[in-house]
Symmetry: C2
Subunit: 354 residues, 2 copies
């Protein structure tokens, strides 16, 4: 619990300190030590004293507990592996709903807030069809495309994750509270911001790296030239995730950003099949029986000693696979029960009894 | 004139003979000799006797003369160089209007006959903007996108060329006769089919190779999955021309063909600037003064002796440039007065007096 307080205290530091905190965390430094060091560098008259940071963190944790909000720390096995591998993973994910929704294979669908009926229809349809195939739909609960994507996933009886630019108990936009409550039932509403944090302009671009970080691919629908969705797409590229875009009318100006992505090499999406194909999930799923046969000769499993945790860099070095190739394969191996996550972005090969 | 009769006679042979005739023409064989050989291989009871072929050809030439239709033979300097370089150039282009319109840098705009208002608007706008920049707009005079493209070029006071799947004196669709008459004034209406030939289903795919063959790039607007425009795009690729496509609604199904082209690497078009950029014509035109300075050190001019006709293969071999790179550059050199065409796909360096 001390560790959690320190991790949460890192996330109440000023934003300019976040990147250094995250780098240090990934470097293996203990949260308490990072906190001491970073708080020590702040000007003496600043409000972020160590005592204040820790008491704010404890208050946040207590507030979360009262509202059934689970803090998932970077060091826990439940922390999503995909997110753990990005350059700047949040120390803590505050989670309403089902924590396991964060670790299933996911696709982000993002786009215009002032969306046309065309964009809303496509967002809903793509989300529906992908969710029906078992993919989690990640988006930002914003007006327009984001909420249409969440609704499409729910309509298919699927799972969806909303990543907020405020604390998960501060609803923005307020009219989406009922939608968030529905998402809780079958997915999760998450944020890196301590419960009680109000939405602010500068939180949203930061939030976008979590949307892409949780996902294997980002699908952009009706993004204008300066759309926030382009930030999510850029994060996805930096994180080695696929970027796809839906084309549309070239006369309205509404699709300049999406078409720009296509010009730069994003895959074109007309239907969910295009996304599934990009993820290597086209056609019928393999039968369960075929999985294990394949696993025996799997190069990733081959380089892991059962029961011994490995970090991603070590596996990448041993297999020669980049993170972009490695991650989707690790997801599959996890679904097949061949590997399990053990926190801190590491995982372990599960001994097989057969 | 004997030569023209023989060339025309080749084009009244059955279609299955065309490719062999064209190969032989490109190989340098005389039209009369090819005609003798090919007609000799037809079954004895066929209606294409040598006498009949030549009399039909002469009748076609006479009919054309009465209607101010100019036959431009493959061996003439006026025959468009771009078309001369394709694998299967027509022996004769029957031309209403201005023959010189066939040799200026051109872009083809093709697409759906049953076009949406969106497709019609874009076709007209792109054609207008490209024609205003001095490019000739080539299309097929069909209903929908084709005629919108011709109209857009005319509205800009520009030049446009219509390639028909019938004789140029047999209007199809009939209601486009007034449009064809307008095109005659500032461009050309052409066909490889002898005047008087009625439109037939199988002429249209063949016609498409001429649309792309005359053009540096083909822009596809709203092509469905089985659109004839995709044939034009395929011809363009085979001919080493650029293929571009305008995206649109993914729910209507109207753009599957165009989106398929984008998926396969066609450039995405939102405005005329995208096309100009692809042609290397973006931004302001270079001043006339800069042209000649560039020409002095031009590798193409460097390998040509002034006044001595060269064929394209020889220039390609000498410069190491493929046809796809060579042709646009030759167009520019022609516009600059550095080279001139001398028929049969050959050209000559023009001695400079400065």
């Amino acid at each position: 619990m001390i560790d959690l307080v320190d991790l949460v205290a890192l996330s109440v530091l000023p934003i300019k300190c976040w990147r250094r905190a995250l780098d240090a965390l990934r470097g293996g430094e203990a949260p308490a030590q990072i906190l001491d060091r970073l708080a020590g560098h702040l000007p003496p008259d600043n409000p972020f004293t160590l005592v204040r940071l820790r008491s704010d963190a404890a208050a946040g944790i207590a507030r979360a507990a009262r509202q059934a909000i689970a803090p998932v720390a970077w060091s826990e096995a439940a922390y999503p592996l995909a997110l753990a591998t990005i350059a700047d993973p949040p120390p803590v994910l505050w989670t309403r709903g089902r924590v396991d929704a964060l670790s299933a294979p996911a696709v982000a669908i993002v786009g215009s807030r002032a969306a046309s009926q065309y964009a809303l229809s496509i967002a809903e349809q793509l989300a529906h069809d992908l969710a029906a195939r078992g993919l989690v739909i990640v988006s930002g609960l914003a007006r327009g495309v984001d909420s249409a994507a969440h609704r499409g996933a729910l309509a298919a009886g699927g799972v969806t994750v909303a990543v907020l630019g405020s604390g998960v108990d501060v609803m923005y936009p307020p009219e989406h509270a009922p939608l968030a409550a529905e998402i809780d039932e079958r997915g999760a509403v998450i944020s890196e911001l301590v419960p009680g944090t109000s939405p602010a302009q500068f939180f949203f671009p930061l939030r976008n790296r979590i949307i892409s970080g949780l996902s294997r691919a980002v699908v952009v629908i009706e993004a204008g030239e300066k759309s926030g969705s382009l930030i999510t797409a850029r994060c996805a590229l930096e994180q080695g995730r696929d970027v796809l875009a839906v084309p549309g009318n070239v006369l309205s100006g509404r699709n300049r950003g999406a078409h720009g992505l296509l010009r730069d090499g994003a895959k074109i999406v007309e239907s969910a099949d295009d996304i599934l194909e990009e993820l290597g999930m086209a056609g019928p799923r393999p039968r369960a029986g075929t999985w294990h046969a394949a696993a025996v000769s799997d190069p990733i499993l081959g380089c892991m000693t059962p029961g011994e945790p490995c970090d991603l860099d070590a596996i990448a070095a041993a297999t020669g696979l980049g993170t972009a190739k490695l991650l989707p394969r690790l997801f599959e191996l996890e679904v097949q029960g061949e590997v399990a996550r053990v926190g801190g972005g590491r995982f372990v090969r599960v001994p097989q009894t057969c």
